[in-house]
Symmetry: C2
Subunit: 440 residues, 2 copies
Amino acid sequence: MKLTEAFQPTLKEVPTEATITSHRLMLRAGLVRQTAAGIYAWLPAGLRVLRAISTIVREEQDRIGAQEVLMPTLQSADLWRRSGRYDAYGPEMLRITDRHERELLYGPTNEEMITDIFGAVVKSYKELPLTLYHLQWKFRDEVRPRFGVMRGREFYMKDGYSFDVSKEGAERNYWRQMLAYLRTFRRIGVNAVPMQADTGPIGGNLSHEFLVLAPAGESGVFYDAAWEGIDWSKRDLDADSAEDLKAVQDVLATHYAATDEKHDEAAWEKVPAEQRREGRGIEVGQIFHLGPKYTEAMGVTVTGEDGSPTHPDMGCYGIGVSRLVGAIIEASHDDNGIIWPESVAPWRFALINLRPGDEATDALCARLYSADPENILYDDRKERAGVKFNDADLLGLPWQVIIGPRGAKAGQVELKNRASGERSEMPVDDFMARFGLKAS
Amino acid sequence: MKLTEAFQPTLKEVPTEATITSHRLMLRAGLVRQTAAGIYAWLPAGLRVLRAISTIVREEQDRIGAQEVLMPTLQSADLWRRSGRYDAYGPEMLRITDRHERELLYGPTNEEMITDIFGAVVKSYKELPLTLYHLQWKFRDEVRPRFGVMRGREFYMKDGYSFDVSKEGAERNYWRQMLAYLRTFRRIGVNAVPMQADTGPIGGNLSHEFLVLAPAGESGVFYDAAWEGIDWSKRDLDADSAEDLKAVQDVLATHYAATDEKHDEAAWEKVPAEQRREGRGIEVGQIFHLGPKYTEAMGVTVTGEDGSPTHPDMGCYGIGVSRLVGAIIEASHDDNGIIWPESVAPWRFALINLRPGDEATDALCARLYSADPENILYDDRKERAGVKFNDADLLGLPWQVIIGPRGAKAGQVELKNRASGERSEMPVDDFMARFGLKAS
């Protein structure tokens, strides 16, 4: 994308409503715009991040055999009356009346709907286990929406639901999701540590939430630094292997991690002092073993192995996809702007032309740009170098490729790594080879 | 995907609420399930079609330089008061009140919101032309939702908006979209003919709607059969070339096409009798030149070439993505079920194992399946051959690959083309080579 053509507005002034770093940076870098309290439009760069995260989430769900569906945003109140949650749910539920005076609601979650769909389709234990998930917009009518997309009202979430005939089966599904989540967050580039959690109004008795260490977090967290060293995306673990799932459980049992609500001072004392990490954490996902709470309440059964009707045992698994965009920034930025992990950056390269109009500079930039226009944001504006460097740091693409008349003449590229700040110069061909780019 | 593991429920009974073919087939083939009046959940096979269509729509928009954003589903009533449409819009608008008694609405379209975002960001004619689009769920509170996803209440739509300083520029954007639309529909596999249309409450003075010939259509249509022969996806036309856009306009001027509202008997008489196509049409898209209607109403200006503030001239461009799923089926089915165009089929191949449990048959099926599991729906169920053939015809994947003990022994594959019904036998290696499959 060429910046002179891109809808990529950067703001110089910090909007006053933004009180936390990620909110300020998302508005300044042109990722989102607020359209109503707690409701945001995603501009091209922000949407690219949202989509990159969604793709990783999908790939890791598909990998463990979960199947994607897409449920609507609006649900009938009657569905929620069947589980007893319609009246129990507080003012966070956005209740709607249609032209025929039928009661609808904007779904804050989908346990009722998925249980209803499941019950209409699945008849026998032979069809289990089954895990269905979707990515869809949801709404929670927060009394004070704030922190940008971190605590918005309309938000994008992946929620998945597993069904099995036994508690043992349900727990197996739970640990499969644990593995998928550990892989997902690692690939997204955040260190999200699983910590035991209360189950709250969703119900159930086994739950973990995944927290990213960042000062803006809503919970206090304590964890063993060993969590930072594990690259789950590289471990060769098979979600279908009982042994491998046990290995995952063992890691959780071995390395301490807890929110302040569940913090255990005695266990914490056993973590070597230099290994202790303490701070605030942002919740970016939560998984629950639900048991048969919803299938019982809604009267959903399948034929069990012994031929008698049985209420399937469920799990539910959420990832806050739009919230993650904010959480990544909270965990990865500096005074100059965002520092995107490579896997979710809106573009991989910022190509900075220091002298638009200079023939050699333009020619080299055009040559580089044409090698991979889909992954390059090309700053071809007639602006001062300082403005371009500032905007590039603000938007935080992983690599800045800087071309000026001197370099262009010598066939040299200056490369800056946004995260480390490291700069190097190299011949154009070396640069192309290093990143697997080919002249078009 | 293996059918024994897939959430792919086929219904034997036709639901009574379904009165048109596409609705019946979508329910029977397990593409969607109704969750409330006019609101549907998309099951895995249906979602795959929805996504395939969305991808083609995006590619053709990106190709002409339109940029993707993502606006929220809920909008503030105040935004619509600025254009004067809040009170003018009828009971199809779903009006919502939040916990603070603020008025919201579920967006049926986005002219106001995109104009507001544009106005906040773009300041000068130098930043134009600009076209932004998004794919998002919308809501229209139809008094009698029916025909399944063809006339649902919550529906998925691509809507795009162009901005330019002059009427000439706006018209150029209009014809660029005309070309993108012709390419899009052709790639999706439907013959959608552009016909002059009234602009209705959206406003403006130049508009075409795109209609697919099918008996369930809401409008009468008349067109020259020449329209069926043009493969826009193969024509080498450049949206940046005035000459090429002129060529598109010439095709529209040359080949007659009109809905009954705009039908001109005198012009129709000039179409050779054997070239006349007459029937019903389903609207799957519409494009409008809007003029400055919304920028004027909402007080949005940019600095013009002469330095004075000017109201940009807009166009808007819609494609009914969820509706298209129904329209494709209306235009492409037979008594046995759906016939998907290859480009949007949920899977490319139905692999039918005629004798699960037979060693050679299972082995050959496993070998074929592993060559491309992402594009194969493998019927590994222990069902009679008749059931499998019926279900394969119903779901309508383009190719059926049929393996029985006799063929497995001889290393032969039976191939059936769903559209033509043509059957052929060939050695396994020839089959693999024909479709570019490689043993894994």
